[in-house]
Symmetry: C2
Subunit: 424 residues, 2 copies
């Protein structure tokens, strides 16, 4: 691994040199490197735990909350799980070299459109030290060199983990510089990393809004911002109401703190009288706070009245990330689509319907990365989608939309072969 005395710029240049070699490595070499990383993590568990204990102690002294300390904590079991994750990625299909188009042109030239690594991918992340390994493994599998920048609160853990990954990768035949860690978790290092234009090919931040805002101000390198998710479930007039209750409850309560959880429920007026009392009762039974419009309140039934809060426009625009839901009645599919396009963040949007026309209109009319028909928004995930793993989820439209997996960490190259062809 690059030594901590290197400047960020030097470390990125070394990563670029490594990336140029990595682009020509075989699938087998990269697979073995990932297995070597997994082996080394397990073999050097004590060393990792020792470093982690120092971070935990500093965290306790600094007064970190219990939740943050838990995110920081490594145990032998957690290290084994990180190693198991690396082994799963190792055996995924290699995206590098995949031919995704081409053929013989009219003039006899052979054209191949080939998937190739991006080059140098920087991952910027917060407290969880497991990201150090998860990110390195996805980058190496896709033939990229990675530059990691974790938070200062996990500095000791990250240094050991990145060192182990770098050594194991090099030992397995990958070039030196394939994995490196920026020493120092400050804003200065972030700014330096984010301005290595022409050297760093992509930055992916994994963290909160503060991290994103810090990058947005300074980055000249391309950034794919992880998504916020203001997701909706729309229950159409023709919906199977049992399915609709199950989907609404699952989308809201299965894991309320993640980006693919639902934040709003829209109900067609044609089924509102029958459906709303049922779904509100079911949500309340899961301790969900109900923020409802006037029509919902009128239909909710008397015994629920005290549990209802009046919804505001701001609520409809909010990603609660908690057991809270905004509920409203709409008079048409078109009104639902317009509401979603106005308030949604383009992440995951669901319709429950038995009507094929409605399903098609929703699929085409909603502007989002993932559109669900009769299924919970909670499925938006690289693993669920069969991509094997993901490094985040994108709501932007360029390059990667939805889960960012191994293919999304690649670019393409056209390879054109002739026998002396000139253009006339």
């Amino acid at each position: 691994m690059a030594t901590t005395a290197q400047s960020v710029a030097d470390l990125c240049l070394a990563a670029r040199d490594a990336a140029r070699e990595l682009a020509s490595t075989s699938s087998v070499t990269r697979e073995r490197a990932l297995e070597a990383i997994a082996d080394a993590l397990v073999a050097r568990t004590d060393e990792i735990l020792e470093a982690n204990a120092r971070d935990m102690e500093a965290g306790r002294e600094a007064g970190l909350t219990g939740a943050l300390l838990d995110r920081l904590l490594l145990t032998a079991e957690r290290i084994a799980a990180i190693a198991a994750g690396a082994r799963q990625v190792a055996v995924l299909p290699d995206p590098v070299g995949e031919i995704i188009g081409g053929g013989r042109l009219a003039n006899g030239l052979e054209l191949k459109k080939v998937r190739v690594p991006l080059g140098v991918v920087a991952i910027v992340y917060e407290a969880r030290p497991n990201v150090t390994v998860d990110a390195a493994v996805l980058c190496l599998k896709s033939g990229n060199a990675c530059v990691l920048r974790g938070s200062s609160s996990a500095a000791h853990s990250n240094a050991v983990l990145a060192g182990i990954a770098a050594q194991a990768a090099e030992g397995a035949g990958l070039p030196a510089g394939s994995v490196s860690l920026v020493a120092g978790g400050g804003r200065e290092e972030l700014a330096e990393l984010a301005t290595q234009e022409g050297v760093v090919d992509l930055i992916i931040p994994r963290g909160g809004e503060g991290l994103k805002a810090a990058l947005k101000g300074v980055a000249t390198v391309p950034v794919i911002y992880a998504a916020s998710g203001n997701c909706h479930v729309y229950v159409d007039a023709s919906a199977d109401l049992d399915d609709a209750v199950a989907i609404a409850v699952n989308a809201k309560t299965h894991r309320p703190g993640v980006c693919n959880a639902a934040e709003s429920l829209l109900v067609h007026s044609g089924v509102a009288a029958e459906f709303l009392p049922r779904v509100l009762e079911a949500l309340r039974a899961e301790s969900v706070e109900l923020r409802v419009d006037a029509r919902t309140r009128a239909l909710a039934g008397a015994e629920l009245g005290a549990a209802l809060v009046d919804v505001t426009d701001e609520d409809f625009a909010s990603e609660f990330l908690s057991l809270t839901i905004a509920v409203g009645v709409v008079d048409s599919l078109e009104e639902a689509i317009a509401h979603i396009n106005r308030h949604g963040s383009g992440h995951s949007e669901a319709i429950v319907t038995a009507d094929l026309d409605a399903a098609l209109a929703f699929e085409r009319g909603v502007d989002a990365a993932c559109v669900y028909i009769n299924a919970s928004t909670r499925f938006t995930d690289g693993g669920e989608f069969g991509m094997g793993a993901e490094i985040g989820n994108s709501t932007q439209k360029l390059h990667a939309r939805g889960p960012i997996g191994l293919r999304e960490l690649c670019t393409i190259k056209y390879v054109v072969t002739g026998d002396g062809h000139v253009r006339t």
Copy 2:
């Protein structure tokens, strides 16, 4: 068409509304709209010529050069060619709705990865009024609304052309606001357009470095910058020298002012003595200025000596865009690849070789959008690549690399269909 009294922000919002409708239009409707635009251009030729005459007069008064006036000039033949181009794009395969991946997941969910329009695409361009129609046509074909911003020198021509395109498109059933033109070609309008985050999905500049620099300073909307091309031809030790001469001459002289023309020639020392006198003579016969390193000069032959200029490092880094070439000798394929990765702009790079290992190493080792084996760099073009048309050429790695055709004007959407699926 949006009236010129609208603010840039209002015009972009109208375009976004149009884009949401456009995403659901059928392929046939969009194809007919393009044919209607072609018909209207021919039918209203006099009106276009009249507006163009006013721009030409103003241009002459402002002292524009002959070259710029020629770029500004429209004739009946040029208008007919623009219309013919629109008809060619009309019948290209529709990228919208193409299913590019998916299947049945283990839990029974059906996953489709579908190509969908980006939404609102802004095209910013300089003197050529034909871009007004070319850009509108590519955007509409790919289901995008377009916002055009041309230069003030072509204001009258652009207003009439955009008006015709907008009217014809609306007449054929596309939503109002699908084509609009920003009134005013100043930096203020550019800055306002470039900051319509969340409304404009992509800006593509077509113009010189000044335009790109102006955008770079202000844009918060994603931009794909058209490429500069510092392209190389490398002649390997095993090259067929007849092919090598033909490819070097073609890549340099076929159209020296474009981005896929070669700017440098690298020759393996093993063939330099035999090859250099031949290729330099052939290039000189085409009036190419020869900037050569010391080894090339030593091998060039006495009668060429006076025609040779000493090459500088700056020459190797230059996109001449003229009949000038930098020539150097290298001792290995690896040295050639390193030189290209150091000086190239990642556009189009060619090797001439009979050696399969060398071809493979060059293909994988050179970091560029297009790599040529035994063919001229001049083929980098959406039309040549079978993409039907292009709106520019990208050397960036994210989203679009190489020719930007109809597919590159799209994003993707995941459509997931279940029968009440929830995540457990």
